[in-house]
């Protein structure tokens, strides 16, 4: 143990105040059950337990740049096993949202995919799977988009042939205007410090 860092409670405060479900990490007793339960644990920079410990110590950059916070599959295994009943998933989502809103895109694909997903809901009220994939593939520009689409094209055709793709684009729901104003209001008044 060589590095000498200080404990800085200010980041923990920032998380408690600004991150959705951020205050829940107070209850963590560092048992590591979440880490042991996570299907993608091997691929994470730090398991959830350590993320929580780093928040307490004040390691802001390391936490917000950790790939872990954007790698949650939302399988709820950690959450049902957590002896302290911490909604680990909500915390991870909250942290991911917070990091993305600060422009940190450690898992860029996931962030872009999620953002496209949300924007489509905001636009029409529903999700059109084929439109979503198209937007996701082309989010990085036309060249990468074509490349990515080609990789997935075969699957797209297969799905289309099996009638598992809508041919017509998704129509807006009737109440889309009021839905949007609801969502605007929620985004303004809710936690997370983000913008649409």
């Amino acid at each position: 143990m060589e590095t000498n860092t200080s404990y800085d409670p200010s980041f923990a405060r920032e998380v408690f105040e600004n991150v959705d479900s951020g205050e829940e990490i107070k209850m963590c007793m560092q048992c590591g059950m979440c880490a042991a339960s996570c299907p993608l644990r091997e691929h994470m920079d730090y398991p959830p337990r350590q993320i929580f410990s780093m928040i307490r110590a004040g390691k802001r950059d390391m936490v917000l740049n950790a790939n872990s916070i954007m790698m949650c599959t939302s399988c709820y295994t950690c959450q049902v096993r957590c002896p302290r009943g911490i909604p680990v998933i909500d915390v991870m989502h909250g942290l991911a949202h917070y990091a993305i809103s600060k422009g940190i895109l450690t898992r860029k694909d996931t962030a872009v995919f999620g953002r496209e997903f949300w924007q489509q809901i905001y636009k029409t009220g529903r999700i059109d799977e084929k439109d979503l994939s198209r937007r996701y593939f082309f989010a990085d520009g036309i060249i990468t988009g074509i490349k990515k689409s080609l990789q997935m094209a075969r699957m797209g055709i297969i799905m289309l042939l099996h009638g598992r793709m809508k041919i017509l684009p998704e129509k807006k729901i009737k109440g889309i205007k009021s839905l949007r104003s609801m969502l605007d209001k929620a985004m303004q008044t809710g936690k997370g410090g983000s913008e649409v």
Partner: protein, 293 residues
């Protein structure tokens, strides 16, 4: 019995065989469905990238409010992601008064309010608890004759609340399969995640998860895998080629919805009712062999 059926976006596209088979099966069992008028997407499990928690809660609260306004039926959400999003928000609003007020102040934009009177159910819950395996057995005219099925439960259809089944060792799907005279195989990975909503952007990592699940099912003798979630179905079915390519495996196992198996066992039309033609890995031969057609 009347229910709202909140089928969600996926069941109109990639999960179309789920919805097509679910409707005739449930109707045969005496269930009637209403649609929630002008429903919106639940936000699924990836919206957090663009939205905060409150916005996602509002999405679901709107659906609940629309349902409550129309009738006091339970909502059946066959898609696990819709189910978890909706039941979670429902619980939170029911249990937290200040949240309810906050959400209602936003729903008021469209003159809506939600009082927390609706119950959100998974289709497995309704089939097992409201209908019951005895009733289901009575509708079985073409028993599956011991077809070895891996009942893949996945994550969000039982976790985190475990309202109708154990979150650690779920049994309901297996019991429903037994009612069809199928033989559910023991299958430890039946609750391991397939990658869910982040499968597409994290495909490299998630292919490994699906490989493990398929391998577990096959090595326990499964001839077919059943599921109750459009994401599970998609991730398990569509990527077998890629997995084979990447890991040198030779998976070619059909993935069907539980309701498709029910339609088959109920002696319904394999195309119109069981919607088997939508499946990319064709299950027809295995199922026909099982029912002796």
């Amino acid at each position: 019995m009347k229910y709202f059926l909140y089928w969600g976006c996926s069941l109109e596209a990639s999960g179309v065989n789920y919805l097509r088979s679910l409707k005739p099966v449930c109707e045969a069992l005496g269930m009637e469905f209403e649609e929630i008028p002008d429903w919106n997407c639940c936000g699924a499990s990836v919206s957090y990238a663009g939205a905060n928690d409150l916005a996602i809660k509002v999405l679901n609260a709107r659906n609940l409010a629309l349902a409550e306004k129309k009738a006091n039926y339970d909502i059946i959400a066959p898609c696990s992601s819709c189910y978890i999003q909706m039941i979670k928000v429902n619980h939170e609003i029911q249990e937290n008064e200040s949240l309810r007020e906050r959400v209602n102040s936003i729903l008021a934009e469209d003159g809506l309010a939600y009082n927390g009177s609706i119950r959100v159910r998974h289709i497995q819950d309704v089939l097992f608890n409201d209908i019951g395996t005895e009733q289901i057995k009575r509708h079985v005219t073409k028993p599956l004759n011991g077809l070895k099925v891996a009942g893949y439960v996945g994550c969000q259809s039982v976790r985190p609340y475990g309202e109708y089944d154990s979150v650690h060792n779920p049994v309901v799907q297996d019991k429903l399969l037994e009612a069809l005279d199928a033989k559910p195989v023991p299958f430890p990975k039946k609750i391991q995640c397939c990658g869910s909503g982040i499968f597409l952007p994290e495909m490299d990592l998630c292919l490994g998860l699906v490989r493990d699940i398929l391998d577990d099912a096959v090595s326990h003798g499964a001839e077919i895998i059943s599921t109750v979630c459009p994401m599970c179905a998609m991730n398990l079915e569509m990527y077998q080629d890629r997995i084979n390519e990447k890991y040198g495996t030779d998976f070619d196992i059909p993935i069907v919805y539980l309701t498709q198996l029910m339609a088959v066992a109920f002696g319904m039309d394999l195309k119109r009712d069981a919607a088997l033609h939508h499946n990319v890995i064709p299950p027809e031969n295995i199922l026909k062999a099982a029912i002796g057609n």
